[in-house]
């Protein structure tokens, strides 16, 4: 038996405070997500969530617009094999300073730009390994007038101007400093350092704004400070490094030196969308009333544990911060994101 809920709080005086869960599983479009891949938060509180969906639920594929307060503003983009505004396997969304939205698609191997009204404007990219081509792009990071694209299967980072004009690239396949194995998420801190979730190397790498290797955090494992396929990274205003430790099905926070501070498995709960659903399903509502998550399991596989325990993160694929350093964790397999704050307290 394993108790997966224990936290070691000895290393920090701060704690994780659960705020809310936004989302709902929908297969046929409408309010909710299916297999959300990433989210981006606009200054006015509108949150853009890219739903990857699947072949039997194409109506849900697109970018849902919601708020932390459970408002739903409809979807932009749609499933499709290549016209402007269409997508197949969205992996990441992000915003520039003018609130244009950038979307990476690892099936179409392209980046699509939507204007602030949600209208698709242009796209660039095709499959390949030459400059300007992609092999399954994943993470995106806008830095002023340029955008960095994590070109996952080419194991490199490409830099473009915001019109899609190629500027430069760095990185190669490998396990050494500055090398990658199927990198995924990317972010920068307030000093302009870049952090990349080097997924299959089980580490977070830190680079200068020019792509020079600075240091690396973590190694393969499931104990504190170790990673199993980290998917994404964010850095808060204090410099704490927040990582969705994907295959360990947890969030980890390290301090700026990389020392472990805290971990979180998730506390997802019902929200107004779910409550409204249960109001229409009296039989489920009654049965749900006696439902108690059981945290002791008889297996070791974190994915199976998360499959059994609904409040836990299940395939946390992205982590983002809002302007107040609230932490948003997108969970592909629970079709929702959870919001936490990392704050003083005990």
């Amino acid at each position: 038996m394993h108790n997966n809920g224990a936290h070691d709080l000895s290393k920090t005086t701060k704690k994780m405070n659960y705020v809310t869960t936004v989302g709902f599983n929908t297969d046929f479009g409408g309010r909710g997500f299916e297999h959300p891949a990433s989210l981006a938060i606009r200054d006015d509180g509108v949150i853009f969530v890219a739903s990857r969906g699947k072949r039997t639920s194409k109506q849900t594929i697109g970018i849902q617009r919601v708020s932390k307060n459970h408002e739903f503003f409809g979807k932009i983009g749609s499933y499709g094999l290549g016209e402007l505004g269409q997508m197949v396997w969205p992996t990441c969304v992000t915003l520039d300073l003018d609130n244009n939205l950038f979307l990476a698609d690892e099936f179409l191997n392209r980046i699509t730009i939507f204007d602030p009204d949600g209208e698709p404007v242009k796209y660039w990219g095709e499959k390949g390994s030459a400059p300007g081509q992609f092999d399954q792009p994943s993470g995106l990071l806008v830095r002023g007038e340029t955008i960095l694209v994590v070109d996952s299967k080419n194991n490199r980072i490409q830099e473009y101007n915001l019109d899609g004009g190629y500027i430069s690239q760095w990185g190669e396949e490998g396990v050494g400093p500055g090398q990658f194995s199927l990198p995924w998420g990317i972010c920068e801190d307030s000093h302009g350092y870049i952090y990349i979730a080097d997924w299959r190397n089980d580490r977070i790498q830190k680079f200068t704004s020019k792509g020079e290797f600075v240091e690396s955090f973590g190694e393969s494992g499931s104990s504190e400070g170790k990673f199993n396929r980290p998917s994404d990274v964010a850095v808060d205003t204090e410099g704490n490094i927040i990582v969705t430790d994907w295959a360990n099905q947890r969030l980890q926070i390290l301090d700026r030196e990389g020392n472990f501070l805290i971990e979180e498995r998730g506390k997802g709960g019902l929200n107004p969308w779910a409550e409204e659903y249960f109001e229409a399903q009296q039989d489920e509502k009654e049965a749900r009333a006696s439902f108690v998550p059981v945290f002791d399991t008889d297996v070791d596989d974190p994915s199976e544990i998360s499959a059994r325990i609904e409040p836990y993160f299940w395939d946390p694929v992205s982590v983002e911060l809002d302007s107040d350093d609230n932490i948003y964790i997108t969970e592909s397999n629970r079709h929702r994101f959870q919001v936490f704050e990392f704050c003083e307290g005990n």
Binding site: N271, E284, A287, F291, D298, E304, R308, S332, N333
Partner: protein, 482 residues
Amino acid sequence: MTTVDYSKDVSLLAHLLRRASFGPTPDEMDYAVEVGYDNILKEFLNPKEADLVPHDMIRRYHVAQSDLRNQGAAYWIYRMLMTKSPLREKMTLFWHRIFATGWAKLIQHRPILNQIDMFRTHGMGKFDDLLIELSKDPSMIMWLDNQDNHGHNINENYGREILELFSMGVGNYTEDDIKETARAFTGWRVVNPEYMSIKMRNNTARPYGYMSWQFEYDDEDHDKGLKTILGQTGNWNGEDAVRIICEQEGTAKYLARHLYHYFVEDELPVPQWPHEPPRNPEAIDLMVQSYFDNDHSIKAVLGTMFTADFFKDIPARYARIKSPAEMVVGALRLAGPIELPSMDLLAAEDACTNMGQALLNPPSVEGWQGGTEWVSTGAYVQRVNFVSKVLSDPDKIGLRNIIDKIKEKASSSNLTHTQLVDFCLDILGPLDVMDSTKSSLNKYISRYPDLSWSDKSGSDSFDEAVVSLIQLIVSSIEYQNA
């Protein structure tokens, strides 16, 4: 017997690979010839380690399979395609046919794949352990309603099926044994049974996706009274029921007959077994003896079977009709490994379904009967079309390998038509075909007048000739059999 003249017999090795694996690939065959019959069998029976499946790659890039809510058959087919321990995978299919559990009722695939994992772990172990794990398996509990089997009010569904379908078959127990066995399994249920049941019944992933089930024993819901099961009286719980069941001659016979049906020769449909003797009673007796001599070890019974003359002898060759899973996986293995993510796996899942074996969704608790039931006109078209299509691209790794090997065998850079037919039949098995089939193949291949590959265009045309011929060979009557 000290002489091992059979050990390098390619026809016999191909026969073993059709049964204990998914039909030989050229590389598998080369290896088998190198190590010999007994050694390859030993490896099959004693898989060293778990197959390395890149779960991280599947879950990251095949997002629709990351929760295994569906596309579970595609995932399983991928494991069968890539396995280095084919007999272990074949045994998971074997148990799935008998302990047939289906998502049409359970809705999500994940718990059934957990059951298949359990077959991987226990499928060649002690039969008692397997039945205990099966009785604790959440998808089996939900499938046969044991979450409704209460101490004060039994639901006898599982009690019935463990005797009728999972261990000894009709005729070896009474209706009272069913009730008493059901009582022994009261309190064996899943966590949160009420909500899990209603989510299943309403077929709903809302609000936040499905939840995988977990076994729980509720001692308070267990009937602690005396029970008499198959003549033994005591304060039995589920483990005791399994122990008593596994001691029975009827259990050993039923298990042996199933193994014989699956690995040696198509038997009659299972519902007729109580009324008709086995095709080969001596073979069954030998396997029953092995079961009791080896502490109910399934591996031991398999070993006895695969080393016995009744398995090796000519009459057993091609005496089974391939199941759809064998057709599909066999063709995929010939075509070579698949890079993830791949739509090919979804096509393979659909193909099994269209041929009449929807994996993880058996037609009933009785599973699939096999034999001639695999073949109808509709299914026949699907069998031929899927397999020939999978083998239509000479640039697939497996086919390229086949073509290269054929070229290596030739003394110069060309072949005669009859040579090519013989080489292809050889490399796909060897596959023994009727004379009439061979003459049809010879006639067909004459449409390619020149079978030389000294230059690029000749080489392309040779490739085309080989894959055309292979497509026709796998469409033959003989290829339908294992």
